[in-house]
């Protein structure tokens, strides 16, 4: 697989959210605004790239039977690093994302890539895989976030498009997350069929 394909598969063919249905919790939990979705996506991408890198680096040193716990420690370390960095430099985003930042460690996408790709491929490819899957995830979250923010409060990235009073509040709440994602996936499935 060429490196370009390796990178781009994360955006459409094997998009974490729309195709693989991985990492659903943050997808629904932090997408009430576009900026939250983007922030979470980028934080996850960082963890994904770094953990893929380290796993690919030490894959031959880890005995097979303990590979899952070992991967988990690596991932958890980078998640904590992201936590601390965000708390120090982007405290507002840190507050918005709240509990979901430490939960990146149980994002099936991250552990999944470590197990399925980084443990079997070289460092360069693993980094690119991490970047592609991560940014694809970020793209999905940002799109969902923008849709929910627009329909729910009339804004995108904080810019007012129409007054909040005309918004459908349900979309920034829990039920709206499920419903918006459901229709978004249906739409994308339809586009894929016709493509």
């Amino acid at each position: 697989m060429s490196q370009w394909n390796n990178f781009s598969k994360g955006f459409f063919k094997e998009n974490a959210v729309f195709t693989l249905l991985l990492g659903m919790c943050p997808t629904l939990g932090v997408t009430s605004s576009a900026i939250d979705g983007l922030g979470m996506g980028l934080a996850t991408t960082f963890v994904l790239v770094m953990s893929n890198l380290v796993v690919a680096l030490i894959k031959n040193l880890i005995p097979d039977k303990v590979r899952i716990p070992a991967f988990i420690v690596v991932i958890a370390t980078f998640v904590t690093i992201v936590e601390m960095t965000m708390q120090a430099y982007v405290p507002a985003l840190f507050d918005s994302l709240g509990l979901f930042i430490p939960l990146i460690v149980v994002n099936c996408l991250v552990l999944g890539r470590a197990e399925a790709y980084a443990s079997k491929n070289n460092i360069g490819s693993s980094i690119i895989d991490g970047l592609g899957m991560g940014l694809g995830f970020a793209m999905a979250l940002t799109i969902l976030g923008a849709i929910r923010e627009l329909l729910g409060s009339g804004k995108i990235f904080g810019t007012v498009i129409f007054p909040e009073d005309y918004g459908m509040l349900v979309f920034v709440l829990a039920p709206g997350a499920f419903i918006a994602l459901g229709y978004l996936i249906a739409f994308i499935n339809q586009v894929k069929k016709e493509a």
Partner: protein, 191 residues
């Protein structure tokens, strides 16, 4: 009285799946049949309660006294991963049929964000103590089960219906989950 509030809040008002978005992967993945839903709930309850107890002690006895609270994420997830391994081993010996029934779902409990989420949330309760945390964990497990089994019941019915092709499978499941979440929103304000 406070315990009653914790229980009602966890099961209905702040349902772990339908209003806090934790445990979505198993919620969507294991809810095709009521029987598997019940089995998964049992396993999740067991791991959730024990994980909350163990992580509670680790936080109070190790992390806080040594001022290393930043190691919370890493220690908690290791505890959960080990617990799941333990449950697998025990279940294999004690009840092979149950082990077979749960099959691939057991290892998936490790990545169930609800478990890590509840362990972390239990420590954020006001004047938290071990009894409150246990009640909290059990209640959330019940809430998880309630959402899961209700959803499975609906999905079993959905399978028999004529759904537009584009919506079949995940999309319609998500929309239905949204309506279920909407229903649960009615509980807000009880506590």
């Amino acid at each position: 009285m406070e315990y009653v509030l914790i229980v009602i809040s966890a099961i209905f008002v702040n349902n772990i799946v339908l209003s806090q978005f934790l445990g979505i992967c198993p919620f969507l993945g294991v809810s095709k049949k009521i029987s598997t839903g019940i089995g998964m709930t049992g396993a999740v309850t067991f791991v959730m309660v024990i994980a909350t107890i163990v992580t509670f002690f680790i936080q109070k006895a190790i992390l806080e006294p040594f001022k290393v609270e930043y190691l919370q994420t890493i220690t908690f997830i290791l505890v959960i991963a080990s617990l799941v391994q333990l449950v697998e081993i025990i279940l294999k010996k004690v009840s092979p049929p149950l082990y077979q029934a749960l099959g691939v779902f057991l290892p998936l409990i490790t990545t169930n964000c609800a478990i890590l989420g509840v362990a972390i949330l239990a420590l954020k309760l006001e004047d938290t103590n071990i009894v409150k945390s246990v009640v909290f964990a059990i209640s959330h497990a019940v809430g998880f089960g309630l959402a899961l089994v209700t959803f499975a019941g609906i999905r079993e019915q959905l399978d028999l219906m004529d759904i537009p092709k584009g919506m079949k499978g995940t999309p319609i499941a998500l929309v239905v989950a949204g309506l279920l979440a909407l229903a649960f929103m009615g509980f807000a304000g009880i506590v």
